[in-house]
Subunit: 363 residues, 2 copies
Amino acid sequence: MANKIVIALDVMSGEAGAEAALEGANISLGKNPNLYFKLYGDEVVIGQYLANLPKLKQQSSIHHTDFIVSMTMKPSQALRKGRKVSSMWQAIASVRDGEAGGALSAGNTGALMAMASICLRTLRRIDRTAIAAIWPTLKGRTIVLDMGANLHVSAQNLVEFGFMGAAMARIIFKTKTPKVGILNIGEEEMKGNEDLKEAASVLRDSGMPLDYIGFVEGDGISKGLADVVVTEGFAGNIALKTAEGTARQMGTLLRDAFKSSWLSRLGYLLVAPSLKILRKNLDPNNSNGGVFLGLKGIVIKCHGSSDSLGFAHAIDLTASMIKNDLVNEIRNDLNVYYKDHDVIEDQKATVTKKVPAMNNKEV
Amino acid sequence: MANKIVIALDVMSGEAGAEAALEGANISLGKNPNLYFKLYGDEVVIGQYLANLPKLKQQSSIHHTDFIVSMTMKPSQALRKGRKVSSMWQAIASVRDGEAGGALSAGNTGALMAMASICLRTLRRIDRTAIAAIWPTLKGRTIVLDMGANLHVSAQNLVEFGFMGAAMARIIFKTKTPKVGILNIGEEEMKGNEDLKEAASVLRDSGMPLDYIGFVEGDGISKGLADVVVTEGFAGNIALKTAEGTARQMGTLLRDAFKSSWLSRLGYLLVAPSLKILRKNLDPNNSNGGVFLGLKGIVIKCHGSSDSLGFAHAIDLTASMIKNDLVNEIRNDLNVYYKDHDVIEDQKATVTKKVPAMNNKEV
């Protein structure tokens, strides 16, 4: 499989079932014949769908598992019952074992993060892993992290999120020094708590390949002020879901308006072709994929209710992260930074870990 | 001035200046002849505008002040320079002195909250004041608090926010037991930190006139799941501004789509009348007004950039809060609750106050 990009696909764990995952893989394969899929799940179910997807059948292998992590399981339960035996674990383990370049799942986010952290482990000097989302904005797209992996973080965690987000931005946006901002309740330097101010001062003077632009408010994300916006997971998750809710609210009101009279129905027919851009900008499929950052391997979370197009987009994203070697991009940054910042490294050693204890002996 | 609703209007502090404030007052007066305004600011400027607004001139008095709190002043600066002498302080002081039923300002939020807290003081047993916003949703409107007055709060603070929000909801939505939810990163009871879980359990069993419905996610606000959504100020502020940003982003994309071809321009003409509902739902003027809760008087914050219609809406809201005696509604709830919950009151005494020390001898 020379030059192949191998993706471990957890076929069964999403709400939409195996069909959306497999058809999504088939769509991506149509665009990128270098893909190869390791498919984890029930072999009978997968086999049935593959019978109708001959191209994918040729570019994939089936890896049977009996156990599927449900969407309602607590991470601890998922680990107890699904470690080693679940499609989710095995997809991640194939990344650890070098059999796949990255893993993709639409399953239970908490379980996926727990399994990924334990199976792949975090990169040396990374205290907290983060989930990065790609957000459609007026100027293009912005990476926002963390989306809920960590409810409370330190200044140092935020700094690391900035480095990791910038590494991802360099790959996705093809820019050498991505603009990085910190989410806050005001743009003025005096706003927010001490952790935010400390993280701001470290990022400003880090000397790393990023352009720290200061604090960004909630509406600064959609304005596209930054390539990367850093925040702790509670506010990040609330912001993401609030934006999704607001977009859905407007979409509903808009549809109601178009349907409200014969004149507006006629008007809609004339306007419809131009609305494509709006629809494309707001289609969650086009920004589908939460990238787990800080692990010794690539793991991507697809929206739980993704359809085949949503899966295809998340697969394209996974392929791009594998091809551009996201993990080494981050690892190299951390090596450069911490060689020059031994003092901060000493401080970091005193941080109390709340994540499961991990053995970070080797990078 | 029997039966008059007297509003102390800080005319000068907003970004749009005196004109928007005074024209807004004139619009509200047209709808509600019971209003009377005490106008605080530069008497020459105010006098010039009033010359063209004879009705308002008749139903108002001018109170000259030399000092205007600027939008960029820190709260501490505003207090040092503007205490007693600013239009903002004097408007609030007239509420304290019983000369007005409530104060309204479009000025610097931090300064307004600091002045209101010191001038009016907090209600007995209230540890933290909060800013409540009224949010347009698919089902109507939802009150969300806190919008940024407090970055970190305790479980007990969240419970008090729930009580205060419910009191405000009973007035605005004319419902006896408003639905109250707590903003969280998931609806499941196990989600979020310990403070959220503790606040949830207290609100569920409080026996107060509210219907606790559980945790609400970011997109649950726009779905209209609750009448009141409670959160700490950081996430609340981020959520509000993210929603505003997303609405603006969609509005911009929509306008671009309508303008993109002759066909779509024609279509827009046919659709335009039906778009009124959408525009009304999303017009920030229609949800203008941050209500300060927990003080011994009514203070409302108008958007800094409000136009006359925005002011008119905030004035209507202020009048409604005065007429329905918001402060006593909250005070009565607290009296009922704390009489039955002396244990919690004892615990509360140990909370370290981070707000300026206040003298809460009398309710």
